[in-house]
């Protein structure tokens, strides 16, 4: 049996569904429901059987003809963007929507190769400001923004 990416992924899925099946059996149900025809465990159990069967078949039958080599792709850039999105999530509450959005957009553009200051500014500040205005001013959706509150722009 040759190893290919599809087989590895099928093995991962097989393990996931095995764990899922175990956890499905561990779901706590009410005492009167324990031997019922259908309880909170039943459907997850069926899903796990389906998952185990199809991932096992994929593991056995796959020949990996359509697999693409992973090395040729831009892993690093995607990882950096992932970290930027994650960081955006971390700071959005503490520094507020406006500043965090601008920081996220500016850093992302710059990382992806934009060097013109005009483009950097034009594609970040108006985007964040107009969305914030639309939400806060027009649609009356409250977004916590300590930075703008500190500046006195919003109350």
């Amino acid at each position: 049996m040759t190893i290919n990416y599809t087989k590895i992924s099928a093995l991962v899925f097989l393990l996931i569904f095995l764990v899922y099946s175990y956890l499905a059996g561990e779901i706590e149900v009410f005492a009167f429901d324990e031997h019922a025809d259908f309880n909170a465990r039943t459907f997850p159990k069926f899903i796990s059987y389906l998952g185990i069967v199809v991932s096992f078949l994929t593991l056995v039958l796959s020949r990996g003809e359509d697999d693409e080599p992973f090395g040729q792709f831009e892993w690093l850039k995607v990882f950096v963007l992932f970290v930027l999105v994650f960081t955006y999530g971390v700071i959005i509450k503490s520094v507020g929507f406006f500043l965090s959005t601008n920081l996220f957009l500016l850093v992302s553009y710059y990382y992806l190769g934009v060097r013109s200051y005009k483009v950097l500014l034009f594609c970040s500040f108006p985007v964040a400001a107009s969305l914030q205005f639309m939400l806060h001013g027009l649609l009356d959706v409250y977004i916590r923004d300590p930075f703008l509150e500190f500046l006195g722009v919003i109350s």
Binding site: S9, A10, I16, L23, F38, I47, G51, I92
Partner: protein
């Protein structure tokens, strides 16, 4: 029916909803034009925006986005041979050669007229077929619904798999598994929450759609070094030429439009099929019935070759609303996203929708006519200007898509956990997509998971825990036979593939 129709006309023709259709068509055209971002991403991006709207207006906006995205996809197919949407790949077979021959304007006009005709004829079919099917589906019981959903899941896995049925089935099972996270609807027992308070309510549908489509698409553009931008001169007004059609060209188009709109509608109604299959089938069908001399023109700029897929894909889009509105079961990945949106508005599509909320049911159908007119009257003349969006470089496009995806999810929950979770899901989706695991079965599994469990529970409780409903009820039996046929067909195809 007449009363419902009048309510629908009244709702759809309100100034507010007309603006919704126009905005939807416009936004859909722009997003659909961008290679990689299809109607699913376009609709997903619209969901958070529509949260404050009433359900009818939200659905009208999304239906407009759907058409617009298909139309936008055709535009990039024709102008630069880069289909924004899978359903418009076959439009590039003849559309792009026409554009290369200096007839880009004409090709866009043919695409617009064909889309308009296909969408309008199919909307007429929908007007007649949907209420009838809704009445029939009132006789469906839980067992039948369960069987129907299984057929839907299997067929979308079969059609979306591109020859990799098992991978599609893994995604279906994975989607179903994700749907079980959170509170069980009947017993209120929380499942698979791992003591994390953020998972107790389950996984947000918007989060999953945004992460698996919009965000992972943006990652994919960077990951595969896809150059999605083109120079503005490629899509300049001078290069497009005239958009006028001669009488003989119109004559050539008319029978094609008639035939392929019926074909497209019927394919669209089938669960799992959709615009992509309809457009390929229509192109192949027209080519096969063409005279030997005309056949040679296919693939080199044939008017019939362009009109056929364009008519069929729009007719299929309309057709896919039939199972959604009447049975509450989506016929395609895109309508699955729409179903999720409807459910989040507290609207349960299905036979009762036709009776209980006729304003939603009929206004969606009526708005389809308006949407088609908007695309023809407004978007066609604006194409040289709208097409400039193709000149946006990827290093600006990607951060913007990421930003709109994150904001869309954050604005619903105001929970930072959703952003972290979304980023992780997007990264996993990216890897799965590289490994050719299709995403639509995952979404459909996730959306149908709750309903599937509910109906299976009812069916089993009614039958004292016995699965005899599978062969005792004629509707269920028929549907289970269809399921077996689909599985056998996939096994047969697999064996054939191995032998060849």
């Amino acid at each position: 029916m007449i009363e419902g129709l009048m309510i629908g006309i009244n709702t759809a023709f309100s100034g507010y909803n007309i603006i919704m259709v126009m905005m939807g068509c416009f936004a859909g055209t722009i997003i659909g034009m961008l290679p990689g971002l299809g109607p699913m991403s376009a609709i997903a991006l619209m969901i958070p925006i529509t949260y404050g709207f009433d359900p009818a207006s939200a659905m009208i906006l999304m239906a407009g986005v759907y058409y617009g995205a298909i139309f936008g996809g055709s535009t990039s197919s024709i102008l630069i041979n880069a289909p924004g949407v899978a359903g418009t790949v076959s439009s590039s077979f003849d559309g792009y050669p026409m554009a290369k021959n200096g007839q880009a304007g004409k090709a866009l006009a043919i695409a617009a007229y064909a889309s308009f005709s296909g969408g309008t004829i199919a909307a007429l079919f929908l007007l007649v077929a949907a209420p009838q099917l809704a009445k029939v589906s009132l006789s469906f019981q839980s067992a039948d619904y369960f069987a129907l959903m299984c057929v839907g899941l299997l067929s979308i896995a079969a059609f979306a798999s591109k020859g990799q049925f098992l991978k599609a089935m893994i995604m279906t099972a994975f989607g179903l598994a994700l749907a079980t996270v959170g509170q069980d609807s009947l017993s209120d027992i929380t499942r698979f929450h791992f003591d994390n308070i953020n998972l107790m309510d389950g996984i947000s549908f918007v989060l999953l759609v945004m992460a698996t489509f919009a965000m992972s698409e943006a990652f994919m553009i960077i990951f595969k070094k896809m150059d999605v931008s083109f120079s503005a001169s490629d899509v300049s007004k001078e290069k497009l030429g005239s958009i006028k059609l001669s009488k003989s060209e119109v004559k050539e188009m008319v029978p094609v439009v008639g035939r392929t709109s019926v074909l497209g509608f019927l394919v669209g109604v089938l669960p799992g099929a959709g615009a992509t299959i309809a457009s390929f089938l229509a192109w192949g069908f027209e080519r096969s019935i063409a005279k030997a001399k005309e056949k040679l023109k296919f693939g080199k700029g044939s008017i019939k070759g362009l009109a056929a897929p364009e008519t069929a894909n729009n007719a299929a889009c309309t057709g896919s609303f039939v199972p959604l509105l009447t049975l509450g079961i989506p016929g395609s990945g895109t309508t699955a996203v729409m179903l999720g949106a409807l459910l989040s508005f507290g609207v349960q599509p299905g036979p009762r929708l036709y009776i209980e909320q006729p304003e939603i049911f009929w206004s969606i159908i009526i708005s389809m006519y308006i949407g088609n007119v908007v695309l023809l009257v407004l978007n066609l003349p604006l194409i040289p200007y709208i097409a400039r969006i193709l000149a946006i470089p990827k290093n600006l496009l990607v951060p913007l898509v990421l930003f709109f995806s994150v904001t869309g999810v954050y604005l619903i929950s105001f929970n930072s956990f959703d952003i972290y979770f979304m980023a992780v899901v997007a990264l996993i989706s990216l890897v799965l997509r590289i490994l050719n695991y299709p995403m639509p079965p995952l979404i459909l599994g996730f959306i149908l998971g709750g309903m599937l469990e509910k109906n299976l529970r009812r069916a089993l409780l009614i039958n004292d825990g016995s699965f005899s409903f599978m062969w005792e009820r004629p509707i269920s039996l028929t549907l289970f036979i269809i399921m077996i046929v689909i599985i056998l067909l996939q096994i047969y195809q697999g064996i054939q593939k191995k032998q060849s």
